[in-house]
Point group: C2
Chain length 447, copies 2
Amino acid sequence: MSFESVVDEVQRRVVPDDAERRALESAVEELTDRATAAIEPLPVAADTKLVGSTARGTWLAGDRDIDLFVLFPPDIARSELERYGLEVGHAVLPDGHEEFAEHPYVKGELHGFDVDCVPCYAVEDATEIRSAVDRTPFHSAYLEGRIEPVADDVRVAKAFLSAIGAYGSDLRTKGFSGFLTELLVLGYGSFRAFIEAAAAWEPPVRFDPADHGERSFDDPLVVIDPTDPERNVAAVCSPRNVARLIHYARELRSDPGIEQFEPRKPEPLSADEVRTLLDARGTTPVAVRFETPDIVDDQLYPQLEKSLEGIEGALERAGFEPLRSACFANAEAVLLVECAVPELSAVARHGGPPVGVREHAEGFYDAYRDDDVTGPFIDAEGRYVVERRRDARTPTDLVRSMLFEVSLGPHVRSSLSDTHEILSGTELATLAEPFGTELATYFDPRP
Amino acid sequence: MSFESVVDEVQRRVVPDDAERRALESAVEELTDRATAAIEPLPVAADTKLVGSTARGTWLAGDRDIDLFVLFPPDIARSELERYGLEVGHAVLPDGHEEFAEHPYVKGELHGFDVDCVPCYAVEDATEIRSAVDRTPFHSAYLEGRIEPVADDVRVAKAFLSAIGAYGSDLRTKGFSGFLTELLVLGYGSFRAFIEAAAAWEPPVRFDPADHGERSFDDPLVVIDPTDPERNVAAVCSPRNVARLIHYARELRSDPGIEQFEPRKPEPLSADEVRTLLDARGTTPVAVRFETPDIVDDQLYPQLEKSLEGIEGALERAGFEPLRSACFANAEAVLLVECAVPELSAVARHGGPPVGVREHAEGFYDAYRDDDVTGPFIDAEGRYVVERRRDARTPTDLVRSMLFEVSLGPHVRSSLSDTHEILSGTELATLAEPFGTELATYFDPRP
C-alpha cells in the first residue's frame, strides 16, 4: 500500500462521523448550560471553557472524554476555588463523584460521555499558573485557529503513537501527550511530514514553535511550550519512546501498512511456556511479588520503577550481572530481574590501599591480619588485598538479605513489609497466571 | 629481641668466616693466574676483573659464585671477542661448558666454587656499552672504596630480601639485584636506616646517588645508575616487590625477629587438601597443563606470565570474573585462573547504536531483524539491543574454545600445540603432585 492510502484508511477509522460530532456538540452545550446556571448564584464571577482534544477537534472517533474547565478569578483563595469548583461540578454532573489531581474535581457521565469538570484559575499568562491545570486553557487558546487544518492528521498521529505504545504523558507510558502530538504535526505541517522528519531525528531534537525559548534542557526531545518559554512540553517523554517513534517512523516510511496502526496484542504465555523460555535463556531470574499499593498509576509506576532499580542496582553491584528487568502490576505487583550469573564464589576479593600509603595501609592490614580471611596479601600493583566470605552467593539470597536496604518507593516498601514472596528460577512460571500477556511481551521484546 | 641483636645474629650467619674468605681468595687467585696465562698468547691485549658480590665483599656466607670477567679492547669484532673469550674460558675451566647470555661464556667449577668466566668489552664509559655485561665492571669500580664500611649491612639486607622472596633481578623474581641492594644500603648508611626508610616509602621513590639523572621513569622505585644517568637500576623491580619490601620493613621495625630472615617454606598440599580448599573457596578454577618449553627461566617466566594474562583477560572479558591466577613450572607447567563465576546465562546482551544515529542504527537493525536472537528491542537509553547465544557458558568452555586466540608466549604456544590438558574444578587436585608447595603458597598467600 502507498503511504497515502494507508493514511486515508486510518483517517476513515479515526475521524469521527457527523453523528458523533453532533452528539458531542449537544453534550457539550448541555454541560456548559448547566455550568453557567450553577455559576450564576456564586459570589464570584467564573467562566467555562471546553479544553482537550474535544475542544480542539482532534479526538479519535470513539473517544468519549470531555474536559470542561471552570475558570475562577486568580484573586480568590484556593479553598474557595475548591469549594465553588465542586459546587459547580456536582451541579453539572449530579451523579458524579469527586477525584483529586492538583485540585479536587468532579468526574461523571452524560449521554455516554466521560466528563471531567475541573476548576482552575484564570491567570493572565501561562507563566503565572498556580497549578498544572491552569495551563490547559492556554494550550487550547494557542491551538484555536491554528490546529483545524491538520486536525485529521493529528488524529492519525495519535493513532500511530497509540499503536506503538508511545501515546500518553502519564508516568507509566512516558510518551507523547496530546498537546505535544498537536504541536509536532502542526509544526511539520502534516502526518507524513512528521513521520519523514521523525525517521531522521538525531536526538537531542529541539523545537520552539513560538521562538521564545531561552533555557536548555537535557531531554532527548525538547518542544518549548508556546505559552511558557521555560517549559519543555516533551519533558516526560522517555529516551526510549523518542527512539521508538524514530524506529517505527522509519518502518512506516519504508513499508506502509494498516497493521502499523494496530497495537500489538501478544497471546498470554502459559506457565509451561514461561518455564521453557527461561530454560532456553539459561538465565537466573528472581522476582518479588506483593500486593499492589492502593495509589494512582502516576504514583505507582514511578515507585515500582524506583524499587526495581534499587534491586537491580544491588544485584549489579554484587556481581550477578542483571541482563534485563521489568515490573508488572494489576491487583498484585511483580519486580523481576533476570541475571546472567547464577552463583558466585564463596570468597570475594576485597582490595585495600597501596602499601605505600602508610596510614591507610597499616589500618587495613591491622584490621584483617588476624581475621578469618585469605590474606592480607599484596597484588601486582602493590595494594593490600584480602579475600572475604561473600554475604550472598545467589541472586535470590541477595534479594532476600538486602531487599529493605535498597532504595524503594515508600508505598512499595510498606506493601513489601506487609507481606511478599521471592520467586526464583522456574517458580516464575506461577506469574503466567496474573501476567501472561506482560511476560509474552517481556520474552519477545520488540522495539 | 631488639633490632640490633637481631641484626647481630643475622650477621653471625651471613658474614663469611676467615676460612671461607681465604678459600675464596685462593680460588680467585688461581683463576686469575690461569686467565692471565691464557690471554698471554692471544693477538690482542686483555685484562681480567673479578666482579659481583665476591669482588665487592658482599657475598653471603655459603654462596659459592665467582664471576671472573675478561675485558677485551672495544675495537675488536664481536666474533673475535666471542672466540677469544671462549678460548680463555676453557683454559680457566677445563671441565667447564658453554652457556649463552648476551655473549657465549664458560661456566665451570673450581674447589667447590661455581665460576662464570665471561668476556666483555672494556669500554671507556658505561654509557657506551655494547651489551649488558659490559656494564658490570663499572658497577664494581663504582663500589670499590665505597662499599666496604657497609659490606656486612649489605649482607644482612640481601638475607632479608631473600627471606621475603624479593632478592634477585631475574625475570621470575623481579626483585632487588645485588647492585641495587648495595646502592640502597650505601645510600641510607646502614641496614637499619634502609629499613626505617623503606617502611616510610611512598612510591614512586627516586634516588640518584651520583646526582646526574635527567630523564624520568614510570617505575615505583627509581635508582639512577651512578655509572649511567639514563638507566634505572631498579627497572626490573615489580610494584609488588617494592610494596613487599615496604610491608616487611614495617613488620621488622615493629617486631624484630630472626624468623623474619628465614624464607617461608610451606608444607606441600596433598590432593585432598587442594580439593577441600577449592570447595571452601567455592571458586571455579580452570588450569592449562603442558610440558615446560626448554628455554631459560628469563625467557620462560615472562612467556608464562604473558600467556596467563592472555587467558585471564579472555575470561575477564567474557564475564567469568577471575579472582586470582598463578603460573607454576618445573618439568611441566601450569597456568591457573580461579574464577568467581561458574556459569553464565545462555543468552548475552549485545548493545547496538542509539536509534537516532540513522546509518549505524539501520545497519544494526537490518543485521539482526531476521536473526535467531531476542530482539532487536530498544533499551531505556534509546539504543538497539539484541540478546544472542553466548559462545562459552563456563570458564572451561571458554579456555577450550579460545586458548589459541589469546596472546601467548611463542614457546608456550608451541608447547601447547604439541599437547596440553585443561583441568577444571576438583581435577586441579592432580596438581598437588608436581606443585604441592606452590599450591600451598597460592592458597595461603602472604604479603
